[in-house]
């Protein structure tokens, strides 16, 4: 018998509990539980790990090819000697991206998800075992290139950054509202191409984002041209110095089961 699932409902009290057919062996249990509760519990645990070590965790999301890894390479170069950075890389296959990050001289852990189209909190928790957080300031989690699935899964990050590439349509926020609503910052990547890509109108892109009920800041980057990183680096510095709510670190009951 328990207090939560309705198994204490009897013919005598069913009228109080609202059971559909009192006295019958079939009973309806009202639950109202978030389906991602298990993921969210592990995400909170990850967040507490980050907080314990004073690490700012940023979840970087975009469609494939929007320039996440290139932005990270340029960021590592720009912040070298000032902040200690590490990267968790999510991809369906290959550790190419982790190799690119390691070539910049910072630790990188590759998660290959196989057929899974997103990272979840369990996968990130497992990766944390291979990544000493002590001595880090900034952890980037580069999610699987996908504007749909990653939006639904909290990983324990402090901030979500979504790249909108100028080679994509400027109506992407209208097409992928769940992803763009989740963003704390929208980065208009490859902005140096705006002059030649006549179809992409930054004003339309911003209007589509505002229609989602968000006043999320939008900045432009061109990762291959260092001066065009200024707004991005300023945003990062601001987040690094901003006070963060500290999540309490509690052990995970029953351990963590890893699902791929």
């Amino acid at each position: 018998m328990c207090d939560t699932c309705g198994c204490t409902i009897t013919p005598g009290n069913a009228h109080l509990a609202g059971a559909e057919r009192a006295g019958a062996s079939r009973t309806t249990v009202e639950v109202l539980k978030d389906l991602l509760a298990d993921n969210d519990r592990v995400a909170q645990h990850n967040r507490a790990h980050f907080d314990e070590h004073g690490v700012l965790a940023i979840n970087l999301m975009s469609s494939p090819g929007a320039g996440k890894t290139t932005l990270l390479e340029a960021t590592i170069q720009a912040l070298r000697g000032r902040y200690r950075i590490a990267v968790i890389e999510g991809d369906l296959e290959t550790d190419n991206d982790a190799a690119r990050i390691r070539a910049q001289g910072v630790p990188a852990v590759q998660i290959t998800t196989g057929t899974a189209c997103h990272l979840d909190a369990h996968l990130v928790h497992r990766a944390l075992h291979d990544l000493p957080l002590a001595g880090l300031d900034l952890l980037f989690i580069e999610n699987v290139g996908n504007l749909v699935c990653p939006a639904s899964f909290d990983l324990g990050q402090h901030r979500n950054v979504v790249l909108l590439c100028t080679t994509e349509g400027d109506d992407k926020p209208a097409k992928y509202p769940v992803m763009f609503r989740a963003a704390d910052l929208v980065v208009l990547s490859k902005a140096d191409l705006l002059g030649v890509l006549e179809d992409f109108d930054p004003v339309r892109a911003e209007a589509a984002l505002r229609a989602l009920g968000r006043d999320t800041p939008i900045i432009r980057t061109a990762a291959r041209r260092a001066p065009a990183l200024a707004a991005w680096l300023a945003w990062l510095e601001e987040q690094l110095s901003a006070p963060r709510a500290i999540a309490p670190l509690r052990p995970l009951e029953g351990g963590v089961t890893v699902s791929a």
């Binding site: 978030d34 997103h118 639904s152 992803m179 589509a208 009920g213």
Partner: protein, 119 residues
Amino acid sequence: MHELSICQALIDEVARIATSCEARSVGRITIEVGLLSGVEPELLARAFEIARVGTCAAAAELSIAVPEIVVHCNECGASSSAQANRLLCASCGGYRTRVLEGDGLKLRAVELDVPAALH
């Protein structure tokens, strides 16, 4: 397709409830899938057909409620219904809104066949 992962989480939760109630089988499972939850109800229904095989929910029926999106305007205070990619206030047109309903992904109810001894 993350709908399959969601279904597995759903069935895990249903199994926990069924076990704690010593249920013989699971009948109807009712869930709520908001249009802003990032989950496609039709794909979820199809994924459920795959995920339920060999579990306590093997014979269960999945009922999906898709509530209308409701936003609250932080500017004028009005609440109004909205579309997934147009979450503006219907009253004043403002964009500083908060979603009241439509982003949930919840297990609402489970119908169980419980041994008569427990009744």
